[in-house]
């Protein structure tokens, strides 16, 4: 399997994602420069974390005009797996592949710490290997992770079980205390209607091997490999 990791000026988790998809997951992992619309025949795409274009204007707002994003939209429309992590999630919201927006954290501070998230949908290519309700300990590192959407969108996300990850306590309870950034309904990650595009603020790639303190996040990459093996292009 070939997994592409998009690189924008200002991406800084691209090598973490390449390492997780390549060395750890044992797949061919290639970097995709934002200025090219050539996806190099990859089977899945990861948009990594960082500060694309310095996060100027709004997080992800300038990245969405890069040539690679038009290719990504076609790639996603064909049902192929696309994962946005942190700034990648913000870019997916800005370019319209995912609904809603990510605002400044309610506490106004940049937060970098491990949190717990609960897998609330295993019906995506990035969570299918997880157990429903599985609790993952993964880090967050963001200043703008406060997810919001209008009431109709939220109702649709809930109804269709498109809230994939929620911030929770270590035992899986969804509480205000477990919510680090003020996200509505403790939302840490969602998917599109086709379920092949997933975005989340926490960093599974930074918690994909025991040496890093937690390997909980690797289930995201293990899920992807299983999903691709089950339905080759």
């Amino acid at each position: 399997m070939k997994i592409g990791v998009v690189v924008f000026p200002g991406s800084n988790c691209d090598h973490d994602a390449l390492h997780a998809a390549g060395a750890l997951a044992g797949q061919e992992a290639v970097a995709l420069w934002h200025d090219s619309s050539d996806l190099q025949g990859v089977d899945a795409v990861v948009i990594p974390g960082g500060f694309s274009f310095g996060d100027y204007l709004r997080t992800g707002a300038i990245a969405r005009f890069s040539p690679v994003v038009d290719s990504l939209k076609r790639f996603a429309a064909q049902g192929n797996p696309v994962l946005g992590i942190c700034n990648g999630f913000q870019i997916l919201c800005e370019c319209g592949l995912l609904p809603g927006a990510l605002m400044r954290n309610a506490g106004l501070r940049y937060i970098c710490k491990p949190v717990h998230i609960r897998v609330d949908s295993t019906d995506t290519p990035f969570t299918q290997a997880a157990v429903p309700g599985q609790i993952l300990r993964v880090p967050i590192a963001h200043g703008e992770g406060n997810y919001t959407a209008d009431a109709a969108t939220l109702a649709e996300l809930e109804r269709d079980h498109r809230i994939v990850f929620r911030y929770c306590t270590p035992t899986g309870a969804i509480t205000a205390e477990a919510n680090p950034n003020g996200s509505v309904a403790n939302i840490a990650g969602i998917c599109n209607a086709g379920r092949n595009v997933v975005g989340l603020m926490p960093h599974p790639e930074r918690a994909s091997e025991a040496m890093l303190g937690s390997a909980d996040g690797f289930v995201v990459f293990r899920s992807l490999i299983e999903a691709l093996a089950a339905s080759p292009r």
């Binding site: 204007l57 707002a61 919201c93 609904p99 400044r104 959407a149 209008d150």
Partner: protein, 81 residues
């Protein structure tokens, strides 16, 4: 000709930055200031001789499609001829 585009969070969206500024002002004794909304302003300088009607259309489009995220923000435009 210049256009000043002001972008701010919608009234229905909580603005924690504005709240923090308002709280600081209250501490300084400015009790009359009950609410603060914080946004950003873009100063767009248009080439001399640009058709005013075309400029208005173009700036409005840029404000709507690029400078603002319609999920959470709204904008207003002020012209300086």
């Amino acid at each position: 000709m210049k256009a000043f585009v002001t972008v701010a969070l919608k009234k229905t969206v909580l603005d924690p930055q504005g709240k923090a500024v308002q709280a600081a002002l209250a501490k300084l004794g400015h009790a009359a200031i009950r609410d603060v909304r914080q946004g950003k302003c873009f100063e767009l300088d248009l080439a001399a001789g640009t058709n005013p009607a075309a400029a208005r259309t173009e700036v409005e489009r840029v404000a709507r499609e690029v400078l603002t995220n319609p999920v959470i923000e709204e904008f207003s435009i002020r012209w300086d001829d």
